[in-house]
C-alpha cells in the first residue's frame, strides 16, 4: 500500500512539475518530438529498404544450363549435387521444351523462329534459389563446376551492387536511428537536470525529512517517462498520416513496380509502438542519468 501511495504521489508530483516548469518541459517535449520524427523517418526508410532487399533477394535465382547431351541419369545426379549445397533453398528443373513454350508465350516472333528450327536450340536447366544471397556467387561457382553443367547465370555484378548498396544504406540508417536516440536521451537528461537544479531546495528538504532515494528519484523518472510519451504523440500522427499518404501517392511501389512499399496497416502501428517505447525508455533513462549525476544518490 505504501508503495502504491508513493507511486501515486510521484505521478501527481511529476504532472505538477511538468506544468510548473512548463517552459522547460515544453522545450524538452519539442526536442523529443523533433528527434522522434527523424527516428520515425529513419525507421520507415530502414524497414522499407529491408523489405525491398528481401523482395529482391527472394527474386534472385541461379539459372543452371545443362550440356546439350546430358542424360536423364546425369540430370538426376546434377540435381542431387545441387541440393547437397547447404545454401540451396530449392531447385526446379525446367526442360528446354518448357523454355520454348515460355519464350513462345513471351514473344510470338521468337516462338515462330523456334518452331522453324528442326532442333530445339535451348538448354535444359535448373532454377536454383538460395538461402543467403551473400554466398550466391560461391554457390553459382560450385554449380558451374558440376559435371554436365554448361553454364550458370545469376545477374553477376548488378546483383551484388544493388544488395551491397542497400546494405550500406541500411547500416547508415541504423546508425542514424541510434544517434538520434542518444541525442534525445541527452536532451531529456539536460532538461531534467535543469528541473533538478530548479527543485534543488525541494530535493534537499525531501532528503532531510527522510524521503528514501527511490521516492526522490521516482517523480523525476516518471517526469522523463511522461515527457517521452507526450513527445511521441506528434511523430506518431505524422507517421500514421504521412505514411498512408505516401503509400497512396506512390501507389504502393518503391520507384519501380518490382519493389513494393510495406502496406501501411499494422506497419504504421508497429512504428508508432516503437516510437512510444523509445520515447518512454529514453525519457526515463535521460532523467535517470540526470538524477544520478545531480542528486548523488
Amino acid at each position: 500500500m505504501k508503495v502504491i501511495r508513493i507511486i501515486g504521489r510521484s505521478f501527481r508530483d511529476s504532472f505538477k512539475s511538468i506544468s510548473r516548469n512548463f517552459s522547460l518541459s515544453f522545450a524538452s517535449i519539442m526536442c523529443t518530438t523533433i528527434t522522434l520524427i527523424l527516428v520515425a523517418v529513419a525507421i520507415v526508410c530502414a524497414a522499407n529498404i529491408e523489405n525491398a532487399t528481401k523482395i529482391i533477394e527472394d527474386e534472385l535465382s541461379i539459372v543452371v544450363y545443362l550440356n546439350k547431351d546430358v542424360t536423364a541419369e546425369q540430370i538426376e545426379n546434377i540435381k542431387s549435387d545441387i541440393k547437397s549445397q547447404s545454401n540451396v533453398a530449392s531447385s526446379t528443373f525446367k526442360s528446354k521444351d518448357e523454355w520454348k513454350v515460355e519464350l513462345g508465350d513471351y514473344s510470338e516472333d521468337v516462338g515462330n523462329i523456334l518452331d522453324y528450327l528442326d532442333d530445339n536450340p535451348l538448354f535444359d536447366s535448373f532454377i536454383v534459389k538460395v538461402h543467403d544471397v551473400d554466398y550466391l556467387e560461391d554457390t553459382a561457382k560450385y554449380i558451374n563446376d558440376i559435371d554436365g553443367v554448361e553454364s550458370v547465370k545469376y545477374g553477376e555484378g548488378m546483383v551484388e551492387n544493388v544488395i551491397s548498396t542497400f546494405n550500406v544504406v541500411e547500416k547508415i540508417v541504423i546508425v542514424a536511428v541510434i544517434t538520434l536516440i542518444l541525442v534525445t536521451a541527452f536532451l531529456i537528461s539536460n532538461t531534467i537536470k535543469l528541473t533538478i537544479i530548479n527543485r534543488k531546495n525541494e530535493i534537499e528538504i525531501m532528503r532531510l525529512v527522510g524521503a528514501s532515494n527511490t521516492s526522490i528519484k521516482l517523480p523525476f523518472l516518471i517526469e522523463g517517462f511522461i515527457i517521452g510519451i507526450i513527445g511521441a504523440i506528434i511523430p506518431i500522427c505524422i507517421t500514421i498520416y504521412g505514411y498512408v499518404i505516401l503509400y497512396s501517392k506512390m501507389h504502393g511501389e518503391l520507384f519501380t513496380n518490382l519493389v513494393f512499399l510495406i502496406k501501411p496497416y499494422n506497419f504504421v502501428f508497429y512504428v508508432s509502438l516503437v516510437l512510444i517505447v523509445i520515447g518512454a525508455i529514453v525519457g526515463m533513462l535521460g532523467s535517470l542519468k540526470a538524477v544520478r549525476k545531480y542528486l548523488k544518490i
Binding site: R5, R20, L208, V209, G210
Partner: protein, 233 residues
C-alpha cells in the same frame, strides 16, 4: 549507551581543513544541549555528523543506537526519519502552503492522507500557527516561518531535534518566542534537543548544558546552568 555518543571523532575535509579533532561527547535522551562557538569553529560539522550529512574521517558517531558512519548512502533516510531538523534559513517550499509544507515531511515517508491531517494540525497547534494553515511562506513573518519549520521538524515525532542557528535571522523578541516553542517541545515531548547558536543571551538565559567548540576542539562541556557562572567567573 547514551542516546548520542561521539568517540574520538575527527573530521578532515578534502581541502585539508580539520573541522573536528578528537571529539568525544555523550548526550542522554531528553537532554537540551547548546553547541556554541565562533564561525568556522566546527559546530556546523558537529551538527552535520549527527544527521549524516557528513561522515567522520575517523572515530564513531552513534545516534539513537545507529552507528552513523556505517550507514550507507541509500539508507540515510532511516536515520533522518528519527530526527527533526530546523535551519536558520527555514528551508520552506515557497509554492506550498503552511499546511502543505508540514505535510510534505509525512508525504515523503509515505504516510496515509487521513493520518497526515491530524498530525499536521497538531504540530501547527504546538507552534501556534493553526490559524495560518492556508498561508504561503511569503505571507508570514520570519518568526512564523521558523515556527512552520519547527512544526515540520516535529510532525514525525522525532526522538531528536537538531536546530542549526534557528534564531540567527530573528530579532531578540521573536527569538525568545521561538526558544519557548523549542523548550516546550523538550519538556512536553521529551525530545532531545541539540541546538547550535551564536546567541549568548539565549544560552545564558536558558541555563542548559553547553558544549563549546573552538577550532574543532571541544574546549568546554558545561552542565545545566553552569555556563553563565563560568563566563562571569
Amino acid at each position: 549507551m547514551s542516546f548520542i555518543e561521539l568517540k574520538n571523532v575527527n573530521k578532515i575535509y578534502k581541502n585539508g581543513v580539520t573541522a573536528l579533532a578528537d571529539m568525544s561527547v555523550s548526550i542522554e535522551k531528553g537532554e537540551f544541549v547548546f553547541v556554541i562557538g565562533l564561525t568556522a569553529s566546527g559546530k556546523s560539522t558537529f551538527i552535520k555528523l549527527l544527521y549524516r550529512e557528513e561522515k567522520p574521517t575517523s572515530g564513531h558517531v552513534v545516534v539513537g543506537g545507529l552507528n552513523v558512519e556505517k550507514i550507507r548512502n541509500g539508507r540515510v533516510y532511516k536515520l533522518r526519519r528519527k530526527i527533526g531538523i530546523v535551519f536558520q534559513d527555514y528551508k520552506l517550499l515557497p509554492k506550498l502552503t503552511v499546511y502543505e509544507n508540514v505535510a510534505f515531511a509525512l508525504e515523503c515517508v509515505g504516510m496515509k492522507e487521513k493520518d497526515i491531517r491530524p498530525k499536521v494540525l497538531e504540530a501547527l497547534e504546538r507552534v501556534g500557527l493553526k490559524e495560518k494553515v492556508r498561508c504561503f511562506p511569503n505571507e508570514l513573518s520570519g518568526g512564523e516561518q521558523q515556527r512552520v519549520c519547527i512544526a515540520r521538524a516535529i510532525v514525525n515525532e522525532p526522538k531528536l531535534l537538531i536546530c542549526d542557528e534557528p534564531t540567527g535571522n530573528l530579532d531578540p523578541e521573536t527569538s525568545k518566542e521561538i526558544m519557548n516553542v523549542i523548550e516546550s517541545i523538550n519538556k512536553d515531548l521529551k525530545t532531545t534537543i541539540i541546538m547550535a547558536t551564536h546567541d549568548k543571551d539565549i544560552v545564558n538565559r536558558m541555563k542548559k548544558r553547553v558544549l563549546v567548540i573552538d577550532h574543532g576542539v571541544l574546549v568546554g562541556d558545561y552542565a545545566k546552568g553552569r555556563y553563565k557562572a563560568h563566563e562571569s567567573n
